[in-house]
Symmetry: C2
Subunit: 479 residues, 2 copies
């Protein structure tokens, strides 16, 4: 049967060629593909379903902290984009411009939003008058557009899906607190729901967002040792609000500047899920985020009673809110196993005539391929526990990998050696000077500053120059 | 207190000036406002929360029928848009064109999608090979852009939010069945969840979607007697798939054309909710779709025990999954009542010292302002029943209004008289000729064909000419 080749045969081995392996998984699991629109993706059902679950879980976490969702336009008039100096410098080279509309050439062109700080500030300038109008804690789920030259599925594309939160506050303290709160929301979500351990902290001056005072980042370590920036939370101070003339009256009728934050997470995170958890059989999805948590695969399904029993189990599990599907197609069980593994479905349930005779089924874990024989009356409980255990074990495994790949360097010689021989992060002291930062990256062939380790006590000299160190920094190669 | 003017004083009476009333409600309930991007809206928290509930409910209905969500790019290359002749003719005048990107003038320009048939077909052409690949039943929640000249909140704006479903099938029968299935999903959703009764059926030839063979529409009657097209489902035959070269091999290895459908509902429907249910006190939201279903308003909240009791009720109702909020701000109860009414929250609960003494609370219905005194231990049950009753009563009231405003005309004289004196729909026979259709509209000053009444037996002559009637049509003015 032409269709019967095992999926695993169609993907490159992960350790042989990581980039090829990644591309193969995206393709074979039908997560997304390139569209005819250069640099843009089609997010296909299997990939989009993961994003829907991410949206659902993350949105719930946002709303618990008081976030309200909104939707602002996809276009930004040129004059608005130009209002904040650093911001326009950061984004102007990579925007797409609409210059014609309704059959006419426009007097003022519009860019497709690369991000929406300017639109939020423009709206707030009109509606914020008094302290009673603050805080505003808003978010939108949308797509943005940046004219990237090189693209990779989920990791970098011209149009991508994300959420962008934007908030406005009466005081600096409150805005800083919100910046850190959303940073924490991202950390909790990624670690708890996606089972991805993190290194996190502030970005250095040269790596922060265009126009921000502080950028907090979460960085995940991919299996090839490269870091992936997975979510950022920015404190803007009042630079943006001031550029837009946003002022509010306090209780004593005095005029004040307002303080702004923004924070975002995108479909990049799906790339992280693939590259942290995936293996040579395909995708491995953490149970909490998996669109399907278990696939029932009947064995010898033409035999009497097998499909009926499989159907019965399906209904029982769905009643327990376990996201379950039954594969009763005419493919062989072997093909079905391979497909379920490729798609990263966390468990499968095998049930055949012999199992029915013995009043049992077999649960097979996707993460470690362990088989668990279970009495049919205990199926729900055992499966629920197994899914929880998989979530924990996946996090543990990834955390061990992360910790094994954090090195520490005292001087440049050691740093260059580590950069050459190891993959992962290198922790090293830094003086805070841009030139040193750039030279460290150049001399290590790509180990840039990923974030500042704020928990570390900083003592001694910069790894590169003779000056006293101000920061302990995680250095790494990145996507 | 400056803030204490009642909301009701700030809105125009509905019967005095319907258009002004509508604009006032949108503004005072803070549903959306015009952004600095001409013709585009900011969907604000109160308006967007309604859309989120619509998405949740409608998406659940879609998925029950096997729909999978995807996301395709927002841009369409010019050559793709041109592949289907009727389609490009319909949309070319009203698109926005991207002509510059990444600092350069583009060789081929892109339009911002006005709808995505072309992108779906382009993708399908690449992936569909055999009958095994069909059907494809996809949907996306996104925004589209049409360069409208005149705009109104929710009803017509250059960018608007919607869902667009696109499906591809092996046979004509299956595609026709899907077209009707989604038409039915819209009917059920709008009537059951939004409490809006409908007139529905096929569009005439001249009113159908650019490129479609059949368009099914649901039409709601606004309080001013105008119809609002609220959702459409299109059968495309194989014109689109053929233009894109989509062919599939059947079981006997023979090559076939495929059949396509699409169907959409947009944020327009929020306009329908406002204009069907709203009154002079503001918005009236059906309980099923209301972001907040009940607002607890404490009376004399400074008195001992009042806020504690209100808080206790809040927790009890939230535990029952009733979407409840507590307004414990320092505004007066009168202001809070007025605000809750403006926002259309279906019920409020008044609780003061006297109520607590009597172990009771007062539920006030938004739709008819009826007060219900309830023992505290019966609060959950009574409130749940009340919310259900409101949903039913709102539908009944709107249905009575609709039925009272459907007239029937035998000839043009009667039709012109009705068009002049009445508001609503006029049912009348039609021969099926475009010229007659246009002349009927002209002679009645705007009563265009809204849809064909498919349940009606057609006998007699066309209302306009001497030919035999082919259809019974609902004629009406429309938004």
């Amino acid at each position: 049967m032409a269709n019967e080749k095992k999926f695993v045969e169609s993907i490159t081995s992960r350790d042989e060629d990581f980039a090829e392996w990644y591309t193969d998984i995206v393709k074979e699991a039908k997560l997304c593909d390139y569209s005819s629109v250069k640099g843009c993706l089609n997010y296909l059902p299997n990939g989009y379903a993961i994003w829907e679950n991410i949206q659902k879980d993350l949105d719930k976490r946002f709303k618990k902290t008081g976030v309200q969702n909104v939707y602002l336009p996809m276009l930004i008039p040129e004059n608005l984009l130009q209002k904040e100096k650093d911001h326009i410098e950061g984004f102007a080279p990579e925007v797409a411009w609409v210059t014609q509309g309704g059959g006419e050439t426009l007097e003022e062109k519009f860019c497709i939003r690369p991000t929406s700080e300017t639109l939020f500030c423009d709206h707030w300038q009109k509606v914020v008058k008094s302290y009673r109008d603050l805080p505003l804690v808003w978010n939108q789920w949308n797509s943005v557009f940046r004219w990237e030259k090189t693209t990779r599925p989920f990791l970098r594309s011209r149009e991508f899906l994300w959420q962008e939160g934007h908030t406005l506050h009466a005081t600096k303290e409150e805005a800083e607190e919100r910046t850190k709160m959303m940073f924490q929301v991202y950390k909790d979500f990624v670690q708890e729901d996606l089972a991805i351990p993190l290194v996190s902290g502030k970005k250095t001056e040269s790596e922060k967002f265009a126009g921000a005072e502080d950028t907090y980042t979460i960085e995940a370590l991919m299996h090839d040792g490269k870091a992936l920036q997975s979510g950022t939370s920015h404190f803007f101070g009042n630079a943006f609000p001031d550029s837009f003339g946003i002022k509010y009256l306090d209780k004593e009728n005095k005029l004040h500047s307002a303080y702004e934050t923004s924070w975002g997470m995108s479909t990049r995170i799906i790339g992280a899920i693939i590259m942290v958890h995936g293996d040579d059989s395909g995708l491995v999805l953490p149970p909490r985020i998996a669109p399907t948590q278990t696939m029932i695969i009947p064995i010898a399904q033409h035999k009497e009673g097998v499909l009926e029993k499989a159907q019965e189990l399906l209904e029982r599990l769905q009643k327990k809110k376990i996201r379950t599907k039954l594969d009763d197609s005419d493919k062989t069980p072997g093909y079905k196993f391979s497909e379920q593994e490729m798609l990263g479905i966390p468990t499968r349930i095998e049930i055949g005539p012999k199992d029915i005779e013995n009043n049992q089924a077999v649960i097979v874990r996707r993460d470690n391929k362990e088989k668990i024989i279970v009495k049919l009356e205990e199926l729900e409980d055992t499966l629920e526990n197994t899914l929880e255990q998989i979530q924990k074990d996946m996090f543990k495994k990834a955390k061990d990998f992360l910790e094994e790949h954090i090195y520490e360097a005292k001087d440049m010689e050691e740093m260059k050696k580590l950069a050459k021989e190891k993959i992962g992060f290198i922790k090293a002291n830094w003086c805070g000077e841009k030139d040193c930062e750039a030279e460290i990256k150049a001399e290590t062939e790509g180990f840039g500053s990923r974030c500042i380790d704020e928990s570390a006590k900083v003592e001694g000299k910069c790894v590169h120059c003779e000056k006293d160190a101000k920061y302990k920094v995680f250095w790494g190669k990145s996507y």
